[in-house]
Symmetry: C2
Subunit: 394 residues, 2 copies
């Protein structure tokens, strides 16, 4: 008999996917260049040439050395290179024993959740949040609870967080720079968060782990300081993906880095190798482990995202939208012009503007624009945005 829970999931439609499909269908009618598709968070800039040259370098190396089995924790030299780079950059004493290579951030998170939660345990995250966290956590048997947003700043709602903490909470999951708000959590936010976690860990008599999902770490805009989460809290499990920084989301490459100051750090990395056996993970592709290890300090040309953000932020605020200025990522998360953001986004479709209602991200009344598209298209979309606001809301 087929397992019902997966069958049931098929009827739950993803709003983002539906909007993206609408955009494609509409594109077939009027030309995709005329659809202002802000639905999908898919990197739009090309991979750096270095990726291509490293792929060729490793693919043409002496036979048998590139495509062989990786150890289940990752290729040793790759783990060393990652540790060295993190140490240099963040000043924490990372060694290869703290690094577990994983298939993208999703693979990294799948290990992190299983490391520290049993079925029935709670994980807290903060709205607005990446909606895939829901199935990721639910299917481990743990319970994801969402702290409502602080809509003034899209930092975290400390008061509600403190109320929702309980001895059942084994982990707190954060994502900074944040999808969908684009906000970077400040040092002040991280300090408060860490203080509370230390306090409650002591009170409850068990560690509460901080799982830090950092795929947007390299996309931070001019003048914004993006503090290293792990530097604030010893029991931090960093989950990283190269997808956005190097524009290769299809190659499924990232890592778990357990804070060297976490007392069980090496044990936890070894445990990841056991978790892998149960979820069919084994290890990420050898070729891209080798390639990314040579490009730890490189990124694709990410400047288009900041250009696009500035154009949109300026126009949105000029049009009267209330909007926290993004510090990074390729998202912006303004307040809708009517209470129900689903209705607002449906109206926008008439203007071929594809916007995603904030309900999906745990923040009703707001909407997300993913501006990982050509600047030229962002500019052309402004007239549609103006018409939309004028005709529907004035």
């Amino acid at each position: 008999m087929l397992v019902q829970k997966y069958k049931d999931m098929l009827s739950g439609k993803s709003v983002i996917r539906e909007l993206s499909e609408f955009a494609t269908a509409r594109g077939n009618e009027i030309g995709y260049e005329n659809v202002f598709d802000y639905s999908l968070g898919n990197p739009s800039v090309p991979v750096p040439d270095d990726v291509t040259s490293q792929v060729i370098y490793y693919a043409t190396m002496e036979a048998g050395t590139t495509h062989g089995y990786s150890p289940s924790l990752g290729i040793t030299s790759v783990r060393e290179a990652v540790a060295e780079s993190l140490k240099d950059r963040f000043g924490l004493p990372y060694r290869k024993e703290h690094i577990f290579m994983a298939c993208g951030a999703a693979g990294a998170l799948a290990h992190a959740f299983r490391l520290v939660t049993e079925p029935g345990d709670e994980i807290l995250t903060f709205a607005p949040f990446f909606p895939e966290y829901r199935p990721y956590v639910d299917l481990t048997g743990a319970v994801l609870k969402v702290v409502p947003p602080d809509t003034d700043s899209f930092q975290i709602n400390i008061e509600r967080f403190c109320e929702m903490l309980s001895p059942k909470v084994m982990a707190v999951l954060i994502n900074t720079p944040n999808n969908p708000s684009g906000v970077v959590y400040s040092a002040e936010t991280l300090r408060k968060l860490a203080d509370i976690l230390r306090e409650r860990s002591a009170e409850y008599g068990h560690d509460i782990y901080l799982i830090s999902d950092e795929p947007y770490r390299e996309i931070v805009f001019d003048g914004v300081e993006a503090p290293c989460v792990s530097a604030f809290y010893d029991n931090t499990i960093m989950c990283y993906s190269f997808s956005k920084a190097l524009s290769l989301p299809g190659e499924r490459i990232g890592y778990v880095a357990v804070n060297p100051n976490c007392k069980d750090a090496e044990l936890m990395v070894n445990m990841c190798g056991q978790i892998s056996r149960g979820i069919g993970h084994n290890c990420p592709p050898s070729l891209f482990q080798l390639v990314t290890a040579r490009l730890l300090d490189k990124t694709a040309d990410l400047s288009v995202y900041e250009t696009n953000m500035n154009i949109l932020y300026k126009e949105l605020t000029a049009l009267g939208f209330s909007c926290v200025k993004p510090g990074g990522t390729f998202y912006i998360f303004p307040k809708a012009l009517e209470e129900d953001a689903k209705v607002f986004c449906r109206k926008a479709l008439k203007y071929d503007l594809i916007l995603v209602p904030g309900d999906t991200f745990g923040a009703p009344g707001y909407f997300r624009m993913a501006y990982c598209i050509d600047t030229e298209k962002v500019e052309r979309s402004l007239e549609a945005l103006r018409r939309f606001v004028r005709e529907e809301y004035t």
Copy 2:
């Protein structure tokens, strides 16, 4: 708190890994070329040049098209190519809707198990069997039960199989050509197996699925017929990996192919996309999806495995070993010369012969040799084998 079951797994040592580590350590003493290391099933032949040229082709294609996100079921053109190839080869009406691209056979099996079992359900497999099946299944919450071997032929023990079937059995897992025996299940075996499964499915009022793990499908020796498992039984879930055929085990690329005659085939493939979300799988690397789709009818030069098998089979039988002749793979599984194969294999270490006791594979009294090594080394090992037998057993 860290999850105890993964901690506990760390103290369970893998016999194969321990032997492999012994071989490495001994190699450091006397030179690795003098250690006859038959422990690891790691493809030893180089990738075909076509892999390299396709990697370069796709890596240097127009920017942005190769390394992007794959749909969660796999790249559409890749699924089409796989379906077309399976259809041509096996005569079953595969379409892309029956194909789910996965990270190697381990990734494919992780989906197959979750498709058809809930925690507490049983999966039967046949000794001798690949020992990783144990953690793969245990960690889903299902229960793996092992049918004792038919040591005459290393086909399947039908009598014990029939006794062990019960309404709790939701799936039967087979691996042909088989690791560790090297045996190919005959058409007669598969026909009997399918008849029994149809009968019991009707009796129990639920389908029993056949999960067919086929990573060694392309390594079949001269004169041996390797029947297509799916052709015998409609409810077959084929799990394939390109690791052995193309010698790229580190690139984690394979697929699930649900038999088109299975009534829920398309639903099952869609369900795989949901299962992925819970286990951090998402999709296999885009580059290797594209590359392998162009090489579906190619293999590495696998002839060395047959050469090695013939040398070893001839010598082993001449030395008096009882041994079923392998029909494929790069394994042979003779009977040890004393009852306890662990003692037998320990004695062999004195002769720098690294052999794996059959206990690990659910067949005590036998031992495995993985002859995916250079023929020159196989030939040099014969003298050690002869000395071992002469000095210890005559």
